[in-house]
């Protein structure tokens, strides 16, 4: 085999004193060859991003620094080279793309200027030549109408277009190595599939070595040649992608792979006749600009939800899937009446709640409760967990001691120690917080649970636990559930019926197994086509 482009041996990165562990990463060794894609997978806090940053010399110094080890790049040790040399290497020989292209791009410079900057810093050529090269790059990454993109500011582009521009910039000087740190995590699945394809194409053409950081095994299955699995700063397994994915050796790898939701729809269950939630011709639009004192018409209104008719029957789980901006969260908030819909009806146990006044609505609140997406934003940081859970019943007139008693029981139901009662939310991890959020939703003994992306902010192993918990309480408490998600794997696992949303419309509704095997609408087909790792049938 040829000499590797990059070879890391015995790398350790020190954390500041007082951190929960001494090393961010320890004893990391790996090699990257030209034209090869190496994926580093791991859950949050596994040290995968810091490893990548160490290569670029981008560790958040002075708190976090390299302790020992060698990063050998073409005979130079990147942990030893001086700052000037490192700056030369960055961008021209090793370049990097980040998770969130909006924050990685300078918002007050046009894309053209930002690409131009790279050429100006690293090579000398006349302006016209630089202009031509920049246009060529944008064409290479398949951006439509490159001259327009050149003149555009980052906020004028879509997420996918921004990430393409980032890739164009990263590849501007033909680097030998491209480091991609979760480059598709913030993107929709269809866009993600395109970006992954683009990275693969560019790599084939330029022979770049790609170091790809991700938490998603589906992405790994799609793109990796070799895989490195990290856990708490240590490499626990590495090898050829086919081997690691299909015959994992380490028990951590096995548990991670086992936690990934299968893309196999769950078995259909008997359907109840009782409809608990029903929307008819539901419509909600958001205004654009508002004029002085609120007079005059809304400038450019966007239909977030338009003409939606869905029904949820007793005991079943209805999934609402779609990409960002499809209106699925707005729909959920209209149904639970966190926002008022414009026209149409939402019937809750046969009562139209859209026409109720705010105080009349309060009596109906206990029937329908919500689990939120972000476990860090959904709990008041200044309230104790016990108060958070028991305040719902207390507002409904249940006395304090009883409400507290119930809160302790619920903590037990969601798998938390009852000691959690007197603690504050920040003392808990993301998964535990989500359990607290679920306990709060259950405190009012609702008939219907609306779950808005309840697992999308969680690591895959925690995700599996929370999904299991939701399924268990749905069964035990005979709940009906409206489940909002962008992840078709999750939808396949938990939903009996699935509604697919696109630009505010429900384009297709069907039983999960039917929708997954015989999608009717073009959009559903493209979503299913884009699921990362769909061809990978793991054991």
């Amino acid at each position: 085999m040829s000499t590797p482009l990059l070879s890391i041996s015995d790398l350790s990165i020190l954390l500041p004193d007082g951190a929960d562990r001494r090393h961010a990463v320890a004893e990391v060794a790996m090699k990257l060859h030209a034209g090869e894609t190496v994926c580093i997978v791991g859950e949050s806090g596994s040290g995968k991003s810091l490893t990548a940053r160490a290569i670029m010399g981008l560790l958040p110094a002075p708190h976090v620094r390299v302790g020992s080890g060698v990063i050998d790049f073409g005979g130079e040790d990147l942990t030893k080279v001086d700052y000037e040399r490192l700056r030369n290497i960055r961008g021209s020989e090793i370049s990097m793309i980040f998770q969130e292209p909006m924050t990685a791009l300078n918002p007050v410079m046009t894309i053209g200027d930002q690409i131009d900057e790279i050429f100006r810093f690293h090579v000398s050529m006349p302006p016209e030549e630089r202009q031509k090269r920049a246009l060529g790059l944008l064409e290479d990454v398949n951006l439509p109408d490159p001259p327009r993109i050149m003149a555009a500011y980052p906020h004028e582009l879509s997420g996918g277009q921004r990430q393409r521009s980032m890739i164009a910039m990263a590849l501007a000087l033909g680097p030998k190595i491209l480091i991609a740190d979760e480059p598709t995590t913030a993107l929709d699945v269809t866009t993600q599939a395109q970006i992954l394809q683009l990275i693969k194409d560019m790599q084939r053409r330029l022979g770049t070595g790609v170091l790809f950081i991700t938490h998603d095994f589906g992405v790994v299955a799609d793109i990796a040649d070799r895989v490195i699995v990290m856990q708490e700063g240590l490499i626990v397994e590495s090898g050829k992608s086919t081997q690691v994915l299909n015959k994992p050796k380490h028990k951590y790898t096995k548990s991670l792979i086992a936690a990934i939701p299968r893309l196999k729809p769950r078995k259909a269950r008997k359907r109840s006749k009782e409809v608990v939630v029903e929307t008819s011709a539901l419509h909600k639009s958001f205004g654009g600009g508002r004029s002085f004192f609120g007079f005059g018409k809304n400038a450019h209104a966007i239909d977030a939800v338009s003409d939606v008719n869905i029904e949820l029957r007793k005991g079943e789980t209805l999934g609402v899937v779609g990409e960002s901006g499809s209106g699925k969260s707005t729909l959920a908030r209209c149904i639970i009446r966190l926002i008022d819909s414009d026209t149409g009806m939402v019937k809750l146990n046969g009562v139209d709640i859209t026409s109720l006044k705010r105080n009349e609505m309060r009596q109906h609140r206990k029937f329908i409760q919500m689990v939120f997406q972000d476990p860090f934003a959904s709990l008041n940081p200044r309230s104790k967990v016990g108060d958070i859970i028991s305040q719902g019943p207390m507002l409904q007139g249940i006395e304090k001691t009883k409400a507290h008693q119930r809160a302790r029981e619920l903590l037990d139901v969601v798998g938390l120690d009852s000691k959690a009662f007197d603690r504050f939310p920040h003392e808990f991890s993301g998964g535990q917080r989500q359990r607290i959020g679920i306990a709060r939703a259950l405190a009012l003994d609702p008939d219907i649970l609306v779950a808005d992306e309840p697992v999308s902010a969680l690591d895959v192993s925690i995700q599996a636990q929370i999904l299991g918990l939701l399924d268990q309480i749905r069964k035990e408490m005979d709940l009906s559930m409206l489940f909002i998600t962008h992840d078709l794997r999750v939808a396949a696992q938990v939903c009996d019926f699935v509604a697919v949303m696109q630009k505010g419309h429900v384009v297709e509704v069907g039983a999960t197994n039917k929708l997954f095997t015989q999608p009717q609408h073009e959009y559903t087909k493209s979503l299913l086509e884009a699921v990362p790792g769909k061809d990978w049938h793991f054991a």
């Binding site: 004192f293 908030r333 609140r365 939120f372 709990l379 200044r382 959020g437 709060r440 939703a441």
Partner: protein, 277 residues
């Protein structure tokens, strides 16, 4: 609390500020022990310099003790600064919370009112208010509060705007909590840190405004204050420099100390700055 103090202590200037403020508080609290006499009383030869005729910091044109005026004036300055700030924070929270929480027309209306107050130069407005109401401690506190609440209202409105869309607030709506309770119990505690910081800085501004008013002769005529002392001595600045200078230094040090404390509170309460060196 212990954690808060550790973070606060990291800013040495802030600890110094706190030390100075405690000294001034001590001075104000023990004023009647060291200078039991009325600071307005004529106690010796007029225009004695510092350390002359038994005066620590000299006497003014009528023979009043400058040092006595400073320790008694500290009470006035701190009291007015504190009360005026509390009143203006109260008004500011009221306007800001309703505007931010309800948005729409309510927001438009309340913010236009706020802007009317912001467009009038604050010191001139304060002079006008005191002149209309007759100078007294009460009218001075009202005047300072009226000119300084718009800043608080803007800040609180911004906090409420961003917090009201947080998921924990939405969760309170789904359990049927009333709006007032959401505002007071859920949102307000989460925006206390910036309010405390802006409040500490406002105390300093209030002291400056009070001194300014007293300098112009609009202070409460029955109460000794630093501004009054400077006003009384300004015509003799060249012949008897000490009459103006020492009260001036007192104002400078107090305002500086409070600003340092404000800075320190900001560092300690703002979690994003926790890691700052």
């Amino acid at each position: 609390m212990a954690e808060f103090w550790t973070r606060y202590r990291r800013n040495r200037a802030a600890v110094l500020g706190l030390g100075i403020l405690f000294t001034i508080l001590f001075m104000a609290a023990t004023a009647h022990l060291f200078y039991p006499e009325d600071p307005f009383r004529l106690v010796g030869r007029p225009l004695s310099g510092p350390f002359e005729n038994g005066f620590l910091l000299g006497s003014d044109s009528l023979g009043r003790d400058v040092a006595s005026g400073i320790v008694h004036g500290a009470k006035t300055s701190l009291l007015i600064g504190l009360i005026a700030t509390l009143v203006s924070i109260f008004i500011g929270i009221f306007f800001g919370a309703f505007a931010g929480y309800f948005g729409g027309r309510v927001d438009d209306l309340l913010m236009r009112i706020t802007e009317i107050f912001q467009t009038i130069p604050s010191f001139i407005f304060a002079i006008l208010l005191v002149a209309i109401m007759k100078p007294s401690i009460f009218s001075i506190v009202i005047a300072i509060a009226v000119v300084s609440w718009p800043g608080v209202a803007r800040l609180v409105r911004g906090e409420f705007l961003s917090l009201k869309n947080r998921e924990f607030v939405q969760a309170c709506h789904t359990i049927g909590m009333s709006d007032l309770r959401v505002m007071l119990r859920e949102i307000l505690p989460n925006c206390l840190s910036p309010i405390i910081v802006i409040g500490s800085l406002m105390v300093a501004t209030a002291i400056l405004i009070e001194s300014g008013l007293a300098f112009l002769g609009l202070g409460d005529p029955n109460i000794m204050s630093w501004g009054f002392q400077i006003g009384a001595g300004r015509t003799m600045l060249r012949s008897a420099w000490w009459v103006c200078t020492f009260p001036g230094i007192a104002i400078l040090i107090t305002v500086l100390a409070i600003n340092l404390i404000g800075e320190g509170l900001n560092d300690a309460l703002n979690p994003r700055l926790k890691e700052r060196q």
